[in-house]
Structure formats: structure tokens, C-alpha cells
């Protein structure tokens, strides 16, 4: 497939400006660029989701106009999106069947599904319902669903953003295999090491234009980053080690039954984060991180008030608003729908967490000027790029929305910040900004807890690291002791495999 001179204009914004791209069989081609560089727009055009304003697509040398994704699929183009399109209440097999032409029987589809999953080493249980599955498992559904259509070209939009190192490694094996089978793969990623390891060629976009084409194996991660950003990326600087103060966030013997039957039970979780430090919680998705986050925010209440303490106050039975008033701030993993309301303006999304303690509400009335001011401050401090002053949250690119959601909390100067997957699906430049902001916040005396599946990230910013496995939290390791091997063992349950751990085996979510 090749794209010649593709342009796409959204109002005054030129998202793609005359881009050429050639994809060849048996080749993994990387598409690199910062958020908002136009990568998603380009692949959407190649998948028939949007119509380009100019230029043309050629498939095996012939000019084509794609009327929609179903036509793209019929030609042999498959795509795995960054945001999954799965029905939560349906099973894996039902979701897969929905995406396929309805000529096959359901039983046959289940069989092909199991077969495909087995061949490519992507374990999946066809009859589990999607809402029970972790992000990593959901991605497997998307990949298997696409592979079942036997695509000649497979487009993957930031597939490893949600995977553990081991899961990512498995995915690379799958991709290598697809290439060896003679398929073309278009691989969008921010992780430059990954691109160097995997891809034969790369196209780099910046501000809607193609700025370079290269062989990533002959480049360094730094030179690739330079081409993407157009400037050097600042190294994340550690704050000078601040003197340990009293614990500001304490979790004490927290046990909590899951609120859905397939969730993970929290077992006797204890943890203390002092002011001035960043504690990382590593672990494979679905081992109780979501449950822990909900217990910390107050979206789920604990049975004992003393199970969660904020600056000495027992808040286990208090709700989100009360905890925010005590100086806590939270950033959930899911930007759209949890951290922000997609179809509401940014100023309203500022109010979403700011109504509790930021002076945005007086006598029940909203101070619109204050909410807009918060948007402007966040935009400025975190370089949030958007088309107008106060757009809907859903119109921002993933990285820019994440900068907004994190910035919104950090600018409140919280004493305690709990953040889940702070740089999920965010480009290198934005990730560096966010991590630096977390470190600076800790440097100013706040207690920061980072829940992340990205070990690189935890290594980069955490002073201490604990690992979650099947609802148990390991004792934290100092950063120096937290080698990849040590963490990897804990993530696999080595130390936590006490008798208690075994009893939970049946209950726990399979990773």
C-alpha cells in the first residue's frame, strides 16, 4: 500500500500536509511523531475511517478510495486501535464475531478464534466477558480479531503502551512472525528502543508534515527523538533528595472484597508514602491496581476509617470530595470517561475535580471565570495543544488530554497525589514533561504514589517500588535494589506465593 500526497484539513488545522508513505510486504514500518503530529489522522485515512482532503491511496499499485473500514478489511487491511472498540457486556467470542462478516457460524468462529490465538501464542478465553478483562487481555482480543481476517497489511496504534515487558516481548514475537509470513506491518509507537528493535524502516511526522524517512536500526534513540520533536528532549532531572518527613499517605492493613465477582480482592495491603518521595507500584494489569486506586480515591469506601490515612486523618470511610479537601489529588488510568468527561468542555472538566477544594464553587454557584482560568493555567504550564481556548475533552489528542488531566491536579498543589499510568499512550516529549512535574511536586514536599505497568517509568522516577500481585502488595524495595529481575520475580508472584497467595489462585484474574 502506498499513500501519495495525503492531506487532511480540519477547519483551520492542517492535520496531514502532503504525506507520502510506502509500505512493502514482509516489512515492519514505524510511524513516529509526537502527539498531534498527524499519525492517527494518517492511519485513519488509510483504514477508510476518514476521507483525505487531498492525495490518493494505492493498494498494490491501483488507486483506491476507501468508503469505510469494512472495505479496507475486505481489501486485506487490518487495524488495532489504541482505544479498543469492544462491547463490555459481550464475551470475547461474541465481540470477535461482531466484527466479522456473518457468513460463518458462531461455533466455527469460536474455533478459528481459539486456533488463531494458539498459533500466535496469544492466550484468550473465548467465553469470558470483556468487562472482566485487563487492558492487556483486551488488546489481545483486538489483535486476534484482526488476524482472523488474514490481513495483508496490519496497522497497530501504540500496541505496547499497555503491556508489561514480557507481554510486549510476546507481541514482538508475533509481529516478527507476521513479517516472516510476508505481511506488511505499520507500527505506531513512542518507544524508540522498541522501534529500533523491531522495524526496518521508519517515517517521522512532525506538525502534520513528513520530516524524515530512515532506517531506525542505524539511528540512536536520541537521534530519532530529535527528529520527532525537532529539538533536544530535556532529560528528566531528579530533585535533590529531600529529607524524609512524616508519612503523608498511609494504607494500613486494607482488605477489600471486589465489587464485581471477577475483580481482585485486596489482601492486607499496607504502605506508607512520606512527603518528598515517589513510590511506584508495579505489576501486571489486573492484579488489584484498579481496586487499590478506587480504595485510595474513595470511589470505593473501606470498612475501617483507619485503613487509609491522609496526613494523619483517617479517611477510609470518607468519599472522594472529603479526601480532596484534605489535600489529596488523583489521576486515574483511563483519561476519557473516568478522568475526564469526553463531551464536556475543558473548563467543565477542570470543575470535575476542582469543585471540591479549588474555590470554583461559591454558595452552590459555579465561578466560570475560575474554571476557565484553571484551564488557561494548565494549558500554559503543561503546553496543552488544542484548537481553541475551551474545546471538548474528546477533541484533544491522547497526550494533550493526559497533560491536561495531570496538570489539573498538580496545579492544585496537592499534598498527596495518587496517579495511575501517568504516561499511558503519551509521546516521549509529553511523558518527560509529566514525569518531571511529578518529581518536582515530590520535591516540594508532596507524597506521590505512581501505579504503573511501565517499568521504565518506575525506574526513572520512583524512590521506592512495591509490586502488586493477586491483590497482595510486596514490601517496597529501594530504587537501588529494585532491579528488573527482582521486580520481574515479584510480578510473577515469587515472593508473594505464600500459602495465602495459593488460596487466592482460583480467584485471581488470569494475566
Amino acid at each position: 500500500m502506498s499513500a501519495a500526497g495525503i492531506s487532511k484539513r480540519y477547519g483551520t488545522l492542517l492535520a496531514n500536509d502532503n504525506i507520502d508513505l510506502d509500505l512493502h510486504p514482509a516489512e515492519i514500518h514505524a510511524l513516529l511523531g509526537e502527539n498531534g503530529a498527524g499519525k492517527s489522522t494518517l492511519v485513519k485515512a488509510m483504514y477508510g475511517l476518514i476521507q483525505p482532503s487531498g492525495g490518493e491511496l494505492r493498494w498494490m499499485g491501483q488507486k483506491i478510495v476507501l468508503s469505510g473500514p469494512s472495505q479496507a478489511r475486505a481489501l486485506g487491511i487490518g487495524m488495532v486501535f489504541q482505544h479498543f472498540s469492544l462491547f463490555e457486556n459481550l464475551t470475547v467470542a461474541e465481540n470477535v464475531a461482531l466484527g466479522l462478516p456473518s457468513t460463518e457460524s458462531f461455533a466455527a468462529i469460536v474455533e478459528t478464534l481459539a486456533e488463531t490465538a494458539r498459533i500466535y501464542g496469544l492466550p484468550l478465553h473465548p467465553h469470558r466477558e470483556v468487562w472482566q478483562l485487563s487492558v492487556g487481555e483486551r488488546q489481545r482480543i483486538e489483535i486476534v480479531r484482526t488476524l482472523m481476517q488474514n490481513p495483508k497489511l496490519l496497522i497497530l496504534d501504540e500496541p505496547t503502551a499497555v503491556l508489561t515487558p514480557q507481554e510486549a516481548e510476546q507481541l514482538f514475537i508475533v509481529l516478527d512472525r507476521l513479517r516472516d509470513e510476508g505481511r506488511a506491518v505499520l507500527y505506531i509507537s513512542h518507544k524508540l528502543e522498541e522501534v529500533k528493535r523491531l522495524c526496518n524502516t521508519a517515517t517521522i511526522l512532525r506538525a502534520g508534515k513528513k520530516v524524515a524517512a530512515c532506517d531506525p536500526r542505524h539511528e540512536t534513540a536520541a537521534s530519532l527523538a530529535r527528529m520527532m520533536v525537532g529539538a533536544e528532549i530535556g532529560e528528566v532531572k531528579m530533585a535533590s533528595a529531600s529529607a524524609a518527613s512524616a508519612p503523608r499517605l498511609v494504607v494500613h492493613k486494607l482488605s477489600l472484597e471486589p465489587d464485581d465477582p471477577h475483580g481482585t480482592r485486596l489482601n492486607d495491603v499496607s504502605l506508607a508514602v512520606t512527603g518528598g518521595e515517589i513510590v511506584g507500584i508495579a505489576g501486571v494489569a489486573g492484579n488489584g491496581q484498579d481496586e487499590l486506586f478506587a480504595a485510595l480515591t474513595g470511589e470505593r469506601l473501606s470498612p475501617e476509617p483507619g485503613a487509609v490515612m491522609i496526613d494523619g486523618a483517617a479517611v477510609g470511610t470518607l468519599g472522594v470530595t472529603a479526601r480532596r479537601r484534605l489535600g489529596a489529588a488523583f489521576v486515574p488510568e483511563e483519561r476519557l470517561g473516568h478522568g475526564a468527561a469526553p463531551r464536556m468542555k475543558l473548563s467543565e472538566n477542570a470543575l470535575l475535580t476542582g469543585h471540591a477544594a479549588s474555590g470554583m464553587v461559591k454558595y452552590g454557584f459555579i465561578d466560570h471565570a475560575a474554571t476557565l482560568a484553571a484551564v488557561d493555567r494548565t494549558t500554559k504550564a503543561f503546553d496543552v495543544r488544542k484548537a481553541k481556548r475551551d474545546p471538548e475533552a474528546a477533541s484533544l489528542s491522547g497526550g494533550n488530554l493526559q497533560k491536561f488531566v495531570v496538570g489539573r491536579e498538580i496545579l492544585r498543589e496537592p499534598g498527596i497525589l495518587v496517579v495511575s499510568q501517568p504516561t499511558w499512550g503519551v509521546d516521549a516529549g509529553a511523558a518527560a514533561t509529566i514525569r518531571q512535574a511529578l518529581i518536582d511536586l515530590a520535591g516540594r514536599g508532596a507524597a506521590v504514589l505512581v501505579i504503573s505497568q511501565d517499568l521504565d517509568e518506575i525506574e526513572e522516577i520512583a524512590d521506592r517500588v512495591a509490586v502488586m500481585f493477586r491483590g497482595n502488595l510486596s514490601a517496597p524495595l529501594r530504587a537501588a535494589e529494585a532491579t528488573r529481575e527482582a521486580l520481574g520475580l515479584l510480578m510473577g508472584g515469587a515472593a508473594a506465593d505464600a500459602p495465602q497467595g495459593r488460596r487466592e489462585t482460583q480467584h485471581a484474574v488470569g494475566a
Partner: protein
């Protein structure tokens, strides 16, 4: 060539305003076709429906009288619907409010008691509607029962309860056995605005105040934000610290109170006594009004007036053109259908795409 719906990056503000107007236009075309099929002149019929009532001062007042309960109920319902909470039982809350307020009027009938009676009746009406609305809300919060079904079924309970009262204990002893209470005393009646000239009453002023309060609530108050957020993104609302359960109780209580207030105003105003013909389905028609008004208080005001116009026009058409009164219901049903259909245009845009020749070697 092929038509596809493409998701818009942002909601279109222009279409949001135009969509109800497009819906009205499509309804008029459809109705004109129906008239043609029925062998009536569409032009005459539409002018009887929509032009004549607007040229006569008495009809104009009647439109406002009809619109008053519709607007009040629809405002309450819109608060529920914005939050994705489905109160379908406004008709029941309307009736129970009317019954609760009438209780005082019936008890004090003929005693020549003071002017405090009417305000207390209005209060009782609102309270009765609110409590009746809280039944399905509590069932949902504590037992997980679908509020759609329970609120709808409670309509029939309320209706039959009222029927029993007016045929039994509350029946007017001098009413020749008709199922109705005695005419309310003057102190128990909502005063008309222009003495001796039409039925326009003080209730319409209350409806206007309700519209203004709702505008402030939704646009400027944190409670309004909570309502919108729970509807737009429930998980984000939970993260924001808002409780859906609390909101279910609040919106049901408010919409029940408004429906109940509308009920007692209707009884103590234009009707003057309680009888089984008290409602012509206001509680259900208000659902159409709420959506036609795009769940926006000002929009609902205009939508209420428009739907009231179809009622009045329908009555005229029934008299002058022998059109069945059911036609008004058909009319309103078609309208709701088009309103909901046109709403997709706000989130999606329609695009025409050229079909493509399949490449010869495609698998």
C-alpha cells in the same frame, strides 16, 4: 454512492438548535401527506392547526393554559433525562399531586376559611408528587428495580386511586351521582390573570419562574453540573465525588414535585374540581416536550407552547373539519420520532461517499 454517518469531533452547536426545527418541518410534511390520504386539503388543515389558533386572543390564552402543565412537568423530566435517569411516571405524580392538594379543598369546602388554603394546597400538591416520585427512586436505589417500569406502573395505581376517591368518599353529594368532587371554593382556586376575559391563570407565571430557576440551576449551579456529568460520564461523575443514587432521589423528588404542582394547579385552576378527566395525558406528552425542547429549559418553554398549539389546533380541526381527536396523538408521536432521529445529526454528520470499483486482484 453511499450514505455514511461520521462522528463529529465536537457537537455541532448550529445543528443543536436547528435539529428540533428540522424535526418540526419533517413532521409537517408527513402530516400534510396524511391529510391528503384522508381526503382533506393539507393547506386548510395545516392552517386550522397552526395559524387559526394564533389569530384569536382566546385561543392564545388557551395555548398558554395547555402549555403550563406541559412545561412544568417537562422541566422536571428534563433534569432526570439529562442525568440518564428515566422517570416515565410523571402522569402518576401529576395525578397524585392533584389529589393531595384537592384533599384540603374538599375538607374545607363551604367552610368559608381564609386565603391560606390555596398556597397550602399547592404545597401539598408538590409534596405529594415528590413523595410519589420517590417510590420508584427508592426502589431503584435500594433494590435495583428499573425506574422505567416502576414509575410507569405507578401511573395506573395513582389513576385508579383518584378514580376511587371521586366515585366514593369525595363525591359531590349534590353532583347527580357524577364522579366528581364539589366545585372548589374561591379561596381554593388559582386566580385568572385577566378577570372575565379568558382562562389564563397565575399558574402560567409559576411555570415561567420554574423555567428561569431551571436555567440557573443547569447553567450556573454545581448541582446542575452534577446532573449533566452523571448523564454524560457516570464513571467520571463517581470520580468527581458525585453519587448517582443521591441524584436519582433528587431528580425524582424534583420532577415529582413539579408534576404534582402542575397537577394541583390544573385542578384548582382551569378545571375547578377533581374529576377523572383531569389529565389528557399531560405526563406523557411532557416527555415529547422535554425532548423537543432539547432538554433545555428555554427550549422546553417553546416546545411546550408548540405542542399546546397542536392540542388547540386539534380541537378546532375536530370541530370544523371532523378530524378525529386521535389525530393529535398521531401528530405528537410523529413529532417525537423525528426529534429523536434528528438528534443523531448533532453527534454525527451525514456524508455521501462515492462507491469504489474493487481492484481486480482483490482477494
Amino acid at each position: 454512492m453511499q450514505l455514511v454517518l461520521e462522528r463529529r469531533a465536537e457537537r455541532s452547536a448550529i445543528i443543536a438548535i436547528a435539529s428540533p426545527l428540522i424535526a418540526i418541518a419533517l413532521t409537517l410534511v408527513t402530516v400534510a401527506v396524511l391529510f391528503e390520504i384522508m381526503g382533506k386539503s393539507p393547506i386548510t388543515a395545516l392552517s386550522v392547526y397552526f395559524i387559526e389558533p394564533l389569530t384569536d386572543p382566546f385561543s392564545l390564552q388557551e395555548i398558554a393554559v395547555k402549555a403550563t402543565p406541559l412545561v412544568m412537568i417537562a422541566i422536571g423530566l428534563s433534569l432526570c433525562y439529562i442525568a440518564n435517569i428515566w422517570n416515565i411516571g410523571a402522569e402518576g405524580q401529576f395525578i397524585v399531586g392533584a389529589v393531595c392538594g384537592s384533599w384540603l379543598a374538599v375538607r374545607t369546602n363551604g367552610t368559608g376559611i381564609g386565603p391560606w388554603v390555596l398556597p397550602v394546597m399547592l404545597l401539598l400538591g408538590a409534596l405529594g408528587g415528590a413523595l410519589y416520585g420517590l417510590i420508584p427512586a427508592l426502589c431503584r436505589v435500594y433494590f435495583g428495580a428499573s425506574e422505567i417500569l416502576t414509575s410507569l406502573m405507578l401511573v395506573y395505581v395513582g389513576n385508579l386511586g383518584m378514580d376511587y376517591l371521586v366515585r366514593g368518599p369525595w363525591r359531590d353529594p349534590h353532583g347527580l351521582n357524577f364522579p366528581t368532587t364539589a366545585e372548589f371554593d374561591r379561596v381554593a382556586t388559582v386566580p385568572t390573570l385577566f378577570v372575565g376575559a379568558g382562562r389564563l391563570h397565575a399558574g402560567s407565571v409559576i411555570a415561567l419562574v420554574v423555567v428561569m430557576l431551571a436555567t440557573v440551576l443547569l447553567g450556573r449551579m454545581i448541582m446542575g453540573f452534577e446532573i449533566r456529568l452523571v448523564g454524560a460520564a457516570p464513571k467520571a461523575a463517581r470520580f468527581s465525588g458525585f453519587s448517582t443514587d443521591r441524584l436519582v432521589l433528587f431528580t425524582f423528588a424534583v420532577s415529582g414535585a413539579l408534576a404534582g404542582l402542575a397537577g394541583i394547579i390544573e385542578v384548582a385552576g382551569p378545571i375547578g374540581h377533581l374529576d377523572p378527566g383531569l389529565s389528557s395525558g399531560y405526563g406523557f406528552t411532557a416527555i415529547i416536550v422535554a425532548f423537543l425542547g432539547r432538554l433545555n429549559p428555554i427550549g422546553i418553554l417553546f416546545a411546550g407552547l408548540f405542542v399546546a398549539l397542536t392540542f388547540i389546533g386539534g380541537e378546532t380541526a375536530q370541530i370544523t373539519m371532523k378530524v378525529s381527536p386521535d389525530f393529535t396523538k398521531v401528530f405528537q408521536g410523529i413529532l417525537l420520532f423525528y426529534v429523536l432521529a434528528c438528534d443523531s445529526l448533532i453527534i454525527y454528520r451525514v456524508r455521501l461517499i462515492q462507491s469504489v470499483r474493487k481492484p481486480a486482484h482483490a482477494a
